[in-house]
C-alpha cells in the first residue's frame, strides 16, 4: 500500500487482543514517583477516560504510551506487541493526539497545521491535495474553509481546539489521545467538543484515550473509566458502573468533595 501522506496503517488487530495494554508501568522523576505500577487495557474501538487529581500521572501515562517519555519499568503493548522502537515513524502513524493547549504551530497556517503529517511524510502528499484534505477535516470539526488560511494566533480557544482535533484525525489514525480536551473552554464550547469527540470516535471506529477533570466529558465520551491516584489505577470500570461504585476515592473525585481520602492540598 502506498503511504503517501502517511495515511494510518490498516487495522491488523486480533479479536480479543487489547489495542493498548499497560502492565505495571512505573516512572519516577528524580525522587518523585509519578507512576507506581499502572495497569489497564483498552480494547479496539473503545473509549477510555482517565481521571484523577492534578499530578497523578495522567499526562505522563499518555506520553509513556507514545514513547515521548521512557518508562522505568513495566510493559506497554499495542495489539499485544511491545513497541518496536526501531521504526518510530511507523509506530507513531497509528496515533493522533489533541493536546491540552492545542499545541498548534504558530508559524504555520491552519491548513498547514492540519495537513502537517501529510506534507511531512516520507512521500509527502501534493500541496493541493493536502490542502483539500485539511479543509475536509476542518469542515468535519465545524470550521469553514475561510479558516484554512488563518494563523493560530487569530483563532479563539475553542477554534484552536477544533483545529487541534482536525489535525489529530487528519490521517484517520487507529488510536486517538485527547489531553484535557475541554480545559479553558466555556460550557457550551466544551459540550460541542465533547459531542465532536464522541461522534468522531464512533464514526472512525478509533480507540480513544481521554484525560480530563471534567465530569461532563467523562459522561459524554467514556465507555470505560480509569481513575489514577498515587501513581496507580485506583478504580477501573464501565461508565455505567461509575456512579454506583463504592470506592471512596472515586466517590470523592466525581462529586468534587473537599473531604475524603484524597487530600485537598497535595
Amino acid at each position: 500500500m502506498a503511504d503517501s501522506g502517511d495515511i494510518a496503517l490498516p487495522d491488523t488487530s486480533t479479536p480479543g487482543v487489547p489495542r493498548i495494554e499497560l502492565r505495571d508501568v512505573k516512572k519516577r522523576f528524580g525522587h518523585k514517583r509519578v507512576l507506581n505500577g499502572v495497569s489497564f487495557k483498552v480494547m479496539p474501538g473503545e473509549s477510555l477516560v482517565i481521571i484523577g487529581g492534578s499530578g497523578t500521572g495522567k499526562s505522563v501515562t499518555l506520553k509513556c504510551i507514545l514513547g515521548i517519555i521512557r518508562c522505568d519499568s513495566g510493559q506497554i503493548l499495542l495489539d499485544g506487541q511491545p513497541d518496536d522502537s526501531s521504526d518510530r515513524r511507523t509506530f507513531l502513524k497509528q496515533f493522533g493526539m489533541l493536546f491540552q493547549g492545542g499545541a498548534l504551530f504558530d508559524s504555520l497556517s491552519v491548513w498547514q497545521n492540519v495537513a502537517f503529517r501529510l506534507r511531512h511524510a516520507r512521500r509527502p502528499m501534493p500541496r493541493k491535495e493536502a490542502r483539500e484534505r485539511a479543509i475536509e477535516k476542518l469542515r468535519r470539526v465545524g470550521l469553514g474553509p475561510e479558516t484554512a488560511d488563518l494563523y493560530p494566533a487569530e483563532l479563539s480557544g475553542g477554534m484552536q481546539k477544533r483545529v487541534g482535533l482536525a489535525r489529530a484525525i487528519a490521517t484517520d489514525p487507529r488510536i486517538i489521545f485527547f489531553d484535557e480536551p475541554t480545559a479553558g473552554l466555556d460550557p457550551i464550547m466544551a459540550g460541542v467538543i465533547n459531542d465532536l469527540i464522541r461522534e468522531l470516535v464512533t464514526e472512525m471506529g478509533a480507540t480513544a484515550v481521554t484525560i480530563t477533570h471534567d465530569m461532563t466529558t467523562v459522561r459524554t465520551v467514556a465507555d470505560h473509566v480509569a481513575m489514577l491516584h498515587d501513581g496507580k489505577v485506583q478504580w477501573f470500570g464501565r461508565i455505567e458502573d461509575m456512579d454506583s461504585a463504592t470506592d471512596p476515592y472515586l466517590d470523592q473525585f466525581i462529586h468534587g468533595r473537599a473531604t475524603g481520602p484524597i487530600a485537598a492540598i497535595r
Binding site: 502517511d6 506520553k63 507514545l66 515521548i68 518510530r88 515513524r89 507513531l92 502513524k93 496515533f95 493522533g96 493526539m97 493536546f99 491540552q100 493547549g101 499545541a103 498548534l104 504551530f105 504558530d106 502537517f116 503529517r117 511531512h120 511524510a121 516520507r122 489535525r167
Partner: protein, 262 residues
Amino acid sequence: MILLRLVVAFLASIGRSTLGLLMATGRLAIFAGNALSQIARPPYYPVELGRQLLSVGYFSLPVVGMTALFTGAALALQIWAGGARFNAGTVVPSIVAIGIVRELGPVLGGLMVAGRVSSSIAAEIGTMRVTEQIDALTTLSTDPMKYLVLPRVLAGILAVPVLVAIGDVIGIFGGYLIGTTRLGFNSGAYIKNTLDFLTATDIASSLVKACAFGFILTLMGCYHGYHSGRGAQGVGAATTNAVVSASILILAANYVLTEAFF
C-alpha cells in the same frame, strides 16, 4: 572539627561544580552530535532550511553591516591617532584590513548575530517546548532534532560566513571612508595598500571562524530552548543563557582558532 567540616564542604562544592560542568558539557556534546548526525538521515526539510537562512542571514545583515561600518571607521581613527605618536600613521589601511578581517569582523559579527539569533531561537524553541509543540511534532512522526535543530544549525554554519565576509568588506570600507575624507589618504593608494597587505590565510581564518561562530550561536540557541524550563521564567532564563553561553564560547573559540591559524 569545625575546620575539617568546612574544608570537606568546600571540597564537596568544588566537586559538585566540576561534576555539573562535566555533565553539562556531555549533554551539549550529545545534543550537538545528535543534531549533526541528522544530516546523514532523510527526510530533509529544505523549506525550513530556507526560512532559517533568511532569518539568520538576510535579516542579520543590517546589524552586522552597521557594526562593521562603525568599527572600521573607529579603528581607522584609533590607528591614525596611535600611529602618529611614532610617525606610523600610514599603516592605517593595512592595520584596518588585518584587524577587521582577522579579528573584529568575525568576532563582533558573531557576537551581534548571537545577540539577535541565539536569543530568538531559544525563545522560539523554548516557547514550543512549554506549549507542547515539540511533543506535538513527535506525535506527528517528525523528529524535532531534524525539523527544528538541524535547519537552524546548518543555517548558522552557512549564513554567518557570508555575513562576516560582507561585514569585512563594509568594515574596510568604513576605514576607507574615514581615511580618505578625514585623514587625507589617497583613494587609490588606500585600496592598493589594503589589497597588498591581506593574504589568503587572513580571509580563510575569517571565514573558518565565522563558520565556527555560526555553529556555536545557533547550537546554543537550540540547546537552551530545547531544554527550557516551564513557564515564562523558564523561557526567559533559556534566552539569557543562550546569549551568554554563545558569547563566551565565541570568544573562547576565537582564541583557539587564532592560535591554530597564526
